[in-house]
């Protein structure tokens, strides 16, 4: 699946790809080391810059996201992981001062193209947030809302089926099937987060973005979600931001390391954690800072 050099590779990336044997990339190097590109990408980002007003938050990031993989994004706080993740379904549009340039493609379609409508895009690229944020409505309504506004179900039975399927996929069905009419906010934190995942799944996305989905959860709820992610990746492409490196190691196939707005290294997760190429990656995963 991985490829040393894709045809679309911009020249700046090349230096990163020359460091296959554990030759250290020095701390001052801001190019991307490792293998940011794949053969048949689901999403591909090239030279993405993000600005908040005058401040640059993401600096020329290029990366591919493969089909049915879990890509983990790690890095110290404030390095721009959330910012980059939110570019992938244009959630940054909601922030007035935020500006994005570069190209981000989903299946060869530029999502920042003027002709693209964000509404179907966000149905295709769903999002799960750091803090579980169910609507203050019933469990059923939480899941049914997306399909309903997109007109995915014609009849009530159809909608019921979508709700059930989504809750089953999110591993929540058995726990809530008898109380679908109760408020989603009355669930435990972990259940709420799975409800949010079910809500995202219900609109039939292809990519699911997760921004620290377990950071508000206890270890047991975290384990449930991680299991769920492993199952979901059979069907969906998942990008997950996490501060927990064990979690990244457990759930992801590839990991990307961000540092102060730069994407410093991308690689197979096991390789990146055992033999990082960039000096700063090693500093981070060995806990020297972050």
């Amino acid at each position: 699946m991985l490829q040393t050099l894709s045809s679309t590779t911009p020249p700046v990336i090349e230096s990163g790809n020359q460091t296959k044997t554990r030759a250290r990339v020095s701390r001052d190097d801001r190019n991307t080391a490792g293998h940011p590109f794949v053969d048949k990408p689901r999403m591909s980002c090239r030279d993405v810059n993000v600005y908040y007003g005058d401040k640059k938050a993401i600096n020329s990031v290029s990366i591919d996201i493969a089909e049915n993989e879990v890509l983990a994004m790690i890095g110290p706080s404030g390095c721009g992981k959330s910012t980059f993740l939110r570019c992938l379904n244009r959630m940054n549009d909601t922030i007035a001062i935020c500006r994005v340039d570069g190209t981000i493609k989903l299946d060869d379609q530029d999502i920042y193209d003027k002709k693209i409508d964000v509404v179907p895009l966000r149905a295709q690229v769903g999002m799960v947030f750091q803090k579980p944020n169910p609507f203050p409505k019933s469990i059923y309504e939480n899941v049914a809302y997306g399909p309903r506004i997109h007109g995915l179900a014609d009849a009530k039975t159809e909608l019921d089926a979508i709700v059930e399927r989504s809750l089953i996929k999110a591993g929540l069905w058995d726990e809530v099937k008898d109380r679908l009419d109760q408020p989603g906010t009355g669930l435990s934190g972990g259940q709420q987060q799975r409800l949010c995942i079910a809500r995202a799944i219900a609109v039939g996305p292809e990519v699911i973005l997760m921004d620290e989905p377990c950071s508000a959860l206890d270890p047991i709820a975290t384990a449930t979600i991680e299991e769920l992610i492993s199952e979901l990746k059979l069907q969906y492409t998942i990008v997950i931001v996490t501060h927990n490196m064990q979690q990244a190691a457990r759930v992801s196939q590839r990991t990307a390391y961000f540092h102060l707005g730069d994407l410093l290294e991308v690689g197979q997760t096991d390789k990146l954690f055992t033999r990082p190429s960039h000096q700063l990656t090693e500093d981070y995963i060995t806990g020297r800072f972050g």
């Binding site: 379904n89 799960v128 944020n133 609507f135 506004i149 809500r199």
Partner: protein, 421 residues
């Protein structure tokens, strides 16, 4: 520094810290007690002044429905006053002098004749009969019964002379005087005669006005709040608009009255003294408040709800109307009710647009001349008769009841729907 030493220092300062806290609590408590005392004083003085207005004196008189007087072309315009005078003369045959007779007729309210007329119109069979009928007493008799007229004062210093008082005493002795619930206070319009003056006209005027205010201010205010908070881009222009809305909320209400006078009356030539214009003026006055509270309510909805909706592909409009607005609604309603309560209690701007006139008829539409409750209070407070003093207080009680009910609803809404996420 050793732990022991630290603990010692902490201990030493502890007494002082507790003392300061205690003093602060005490000051807070006394501030509350102080304001409560004022409130109690205010309310009790209003109540003591006004509660008697809810009862009113009536006298019973034997009335002969004289066919000679009543069988005219139009029974509605017959001389009912004459019937009452006749009956009074019969009850006090010893009164002969012209001036005394005039005083005698004054025992009964001039509005009593309307009561008789209504009776006859409702039941023409009465004509030719003699009936004992309770008629509204004059306000002076009422005041005497309520002990507001001091019998010990020299005759010249009180509103009723000895002779008049002796008539009333005679009526009392015959059991012809009673005190009954003052329905008229709630069903009549204003009147020059205190005994038949009521607040219905003013209450209806206030109601029409508030209906107009609400019908305009709620949708426009909420719409503006939603637009400014959720959709408008933040730039110089919206900043200026925001500053101006805040300024508008602080503009003294009389200025809105002047605006109404200049724009609605002089330019658009809308009718003077009409609830329509009053409602428009109060709408302009409450609009900024509703916009501001509406925006605060929207801001208090956590952004995560918006993100959740947008994240599954809801359009901005759907996110706002399906999720944000329902959560903000209780706050918006609270703000609206408080704004309405302010509008209900407002009198200054209404003075500017002629709603201060003396109006007897109860308004039946938004273009009829009307006054409002606070203006009615203002008018009555200005009247010299003792009976208007107690009516002023009674009207204040009615107004306060409405205000307390409205504010109570706001508090209830706020506590019922508080924090649902």
């Amino acid at each position: 520094m050793s732990t022991e030493k630290t603990m010692h220092i902490v201990q030493r300062g502890l007494g002082k810290r507790y003392r300061q806290e205690k003093i602060f609590k005490l000051m807070g408590l006394s501030a509350i007690l102080f304001s409560l005392a004022f409130l109690v004083f205010l309310f009790s003085s209003i109540f003591l002044n006004g509660y008697k207005a809810f009862y009113q004196t009536a006298v019973s008189i034997d009335i002969f429905f004289d066919p000679a007087v009543l069988e005219v072309k139009d029974p509605a315009s017959a001389n009912y006053n004459g019937l009452i005078k006749e009956s009074l003369r019969n009850a006090f045959p010893e009164v002969k002098k012209r001036k005394q007779k005039k005083n005698l007729y004054g025992l009964v309210s001039t509005s009593a004749s309307f009561h008789l007329r209504d009776m006859v119109l409702a039941d023409p069979g009465l004509v030719g009969q003699t009936k004992t009928i309770w008629l509204l007493a004059d306000d002076d008799v009422d005041m005497l019964m309520k002990s507001y007229i001091d019998r010990d004062l020299p005759q010249a210093d009180r509103r009723m002379n000895d002779l008049e008082i002796s008539w009333v005493d005679k009526l009392i002795a015959e059991g012809r005087v009673t005190s009954r619930f003052n329905i008229g206070f709630f069903t009549n319009g204003d009147s020059r005669e205190p005994e038949s003056a009521g607040i219905m006209g003013a209450a209806m005027g206030s109601m029409y006005m508030l209906a107009i205010t609400l019908a305009l201010a709620f949708p426009i205010g909420i719409g503006a709040a939603i637009y400014l908070e959720e959709f408008a881009v933040k730039n110089r222009l919206t900043d200026i608009i925001e500053v101006n809305i805040n300024n508008l909320a602080a503009v003294p209400s009389i200025v809105f009255g002047l605006l109404g006078l200049a724009v609605f009356l002089n330019f658009f030539e809308l009718p003077r003294s009409a609830p329509l214009v009053g409602g428009l003026v109060l709408f302009l006055m409450t609009l900024p408040t509703i916009i501001i509270t509406g925006r605060v309510a929207l801001q208090s909805v956590p952004p995560s709800i918006r993100e959740a909706a947008l994240g599954i592909g809801a359009s901005k409009m759907q996110a706002v109307f399906h999720h944000v607005l329902p959560l903000a609604m209780p706050g918006m309603l609270t703000g609206t009710i408080i704004g309405m309560a302010r509008a209900l209690g407002e009198s200054a701007p209404l003075l500017m647009i002629g709603m201060v006139a003396f109006i007897v008829d109860i308004p039946t539409g938004i273009t009829d001349p009307a006054t409002a409750l606070p203006v009615q209070i203002y008018l009555w407070a200005d009247s010299p008769e003792r009976a208007f003093v107690e009516r002023t207080s009674a009207a204040i009680m009615v107004l306060l009841t409405f205000l307390i009910l409205m504010n109570g609803t706001a508090v209830y809404l706020r506590s019922k729907f508080e924090r649902r996420w």
